[in-house]
């Protein structure tokens, strides 16, 4: 059912620390905390003194990632209650950032996409941003028909949370929207949509 092998699908290469950076901005969601915590041995005092960590727990609430991150002793640390709060803070941090600032984003694809959009809008080049996919495979999907976005999609087809059409999740991804494309699967014969498959857990 899934249309695979599509070239617009982002590649997440991992949070490789850029030692020459003057400032490190880590933007982490849920299990994305591990993208940083797993390389604690490489975090020396120079890096930590130049680091700002923004974290939102979401599905990893109660796992203590926030405490572990705080204990790293970065220059600045902030836990956001929700993604929009985190993105709001990120916007401020980036708009006052100087040359030599590196942005690192880790978490689910939907989160990476949204944080990336904030950076792109402020003129950062997507190729300069380090990303790592951690946690659920759930997708953020834009309905190509009503343009509504549904977060945390784990099945295809799924029902658009806005217009109610059954949508096939394509592997076609827009960085500008931070979302995959959803296309009505039974447009030609309404009512003929196949059973959903859990493909993005």
């Amino acid at each position: 059912m899934l249309v695979e092998g599509i070239k617009s699908r982002p590649v997440y290469r991992g949070l490789t620390l850029q030692r020459h950076a003057r400032r490190h901005l880590f933007v982490l969601e849920g299990e994305g905390a591990h993208a940083l915590l797993d390389q604690t041995d490489r975090l020396d005092e120079t890096i930590l003194s130049r680091s700002e960590i923004l974290y939102v727990a979401r599905g990893s609430q109660g796992k203590g990632h926030d405490q572990a991150l705080q204990q790293l002793g970065a220059d600045m640390f902030f836990t956001a209650p929700t993604i929009p709060t985190l993105l709001f803070r990120l916007k401020v941090s980036l708009s006052t950032a100087h040359m030599g600032t590196r942005l690192y984003i880790a978490g689910t694809e939907g989160f990476i996409g949204q944080a990336m959009m904030v950076a792109l809008e402020l003129g950062m080049d997507h190729a300069s941003i380090l990303t790592e996919h951690r946690g659920s495979l759930a997708r953020r999907v834009q309905c190509v028909h009503c343009k509504g976005i549904t977060d945390d999609v784990t099945q295809t087809p799924f029902t658009c949370s806005h217009c109610g059409l059954p949508l096939l999740v394509r592997d076609h991804y827009s960085r500008r929207l931070g979302a995959f494309q959803g296309v009505n699967i039974d447009a030609e014969e309404p009512g003929s949509a196949p059973e959903p498959e859990e493909l993005f857990l």
Binding site: V3, S8, Q142, H172
Partner: protein, 346 residues
């Protein structure tokens, strides 16, 4: 031959038809009895009178009705026109090129009078006579690209060139074969072609990109693409798929001739002078099967092409439901005689 513009529709009652003269000049895209993707690019130079290559921006009998259909699409969905902010210089480049080409090709219909940066544009078929300052968007009723693409047949994409890639950064897309500008805007060449099957693997896009990055000013190129559409519907957008998708289930042996259309894109690519962007015109031509079989060579060739299509292409082009019915109908017109090389009628 002077043009008589038809009044016709591309939706609801679908009154669009080609006149006999327009069938003869249809850009039939198959130069042999089979089809596969290739980097089929050639110089976009003027060709014989009475063909779509008579002028480099072709205006035909459907001009006025196509422009009316575009306006209807935009009323419902203004996101079909978008331009990223850094594309303003390319917008003016495009306006200049499309005005100059149309005025040069069809002086009885279009006139461009330039006096320094004070320009006057007269479009008689649409009843437009505007004076504006070239380079000052506030002197036009729309952004320059939207303004001129509301007066030009075909979808108009403007592609930026940087970092060794091409970027889909502006466009007017209302007559598309199932792709969304709103979704694809800002993507690079490989990304926006992402969903196309087979062609990536055989290296078509790598070669095409390399070729286009070196496109020269004053030396436009062209290629054909094609698909099929049920009913003469220009707006087969993914946005409206629930509206046109059900049409594919309505084909019967009785209505093939009228309902099933060959949809040809004549794509031309032009380097733009100030912005170094590339103008990508995707001009759509529609012809139903009844019209197609009036040219014996095409009547023989087209069923042969349909029979030998790779399964991935049948699926991608959305032909699955009605391909066999169409072949069965067309084969009555194929006597098995050999066809001559090239796509022109004999």
């Amino acid at each position: 031959m002077s043009l008589v513009f038809k009044q016709e529709t591309f939706r609801d009652d679908f009154t669009y038809r080609n006149s006999p003269a327009n069938i003869r000049r249809f850009p039939f895209p198959f130069d042999r009895d089979e089809y596969m993707y290739s980097v089929n690019m050639e110089p976009h130079v003027k060709g014989r009178p009475g063909t779509v290559f008579e002028n480099l921006i072709d205006v035909d009998e459907h001009y006025v009705s196509e422009m009316r259909d575009r306006a209807l699409v935009l009323k419902e969905d203004p996101l079909r026109y978008q331009a990223l902010p850094h594309m303003m210089s390319a917008q003016w480049d495009t306006l200049e090129l499309l005005m100059e080409e149309q005025a040069a090709g069809y002086p009885e219909h279009f006139t461009l009078i330039r006096n320094g940066d004070q320009w006057r544009w007269i479009n008689r078929p649409l009843g437009i006579d505007d004076t504006f300052t070239f380079g000052d968007p506030s002197t036009l009723p729309y952004e320059p690209l939207e303004y001129i693409s509301r007066q030009t047949q075909g979808d108009i994409c403007v592609v930026d060139q940087r970092d060794g890639n091409l970027w889909m950064d502006a466009g007017m897309v209302t007559t598309q074969a199932d792709w969304s500008l709103d979704f694809d805007i800002g993507m690079n060449f490989m990304e926006w072609h992402g969903p196309v099957p087979l062609a990536h693997q055989i290296g078509v896009f790598d070669r095409a990109l390399k070729f286009l990055l070196n496109l020269q000013l004053g030396k436009p190129v062209r290629r054909f693409n094609w698909t099929m559409t049920i009913n003469p519907r220009l707006d087969t957008s993914p946005e409206n798929y629930p509206k046109w998708g059900p049409d594919r289930t309505t084909v019967t042996p009785e209505n093939v001739g009228e309902k099933v259309h060959l949809r040809v894109e004549l794509q031309s690519l032009w380097r733009l002078p100030r912005s170094n962007a590339i103008l990508f015109v995707i001009r759509c031509y529609l012809m139903n099967m009844e019209e197609l079989v009036t040219v014996p060579k095409w009547a023989r060739r087209f069923p042969r092409v349909l029979k030998t299509l790779p399964p991935e292409l049948i699926d991608y082009k959305g032909l699955t439901r009605y391909r066999q019915t169409t072949i069965d109908w067309l084969e009555k017109f194929d006597d098995g005689a050999p066809t001559s090389p090239g796509f022109w009628p004999d």
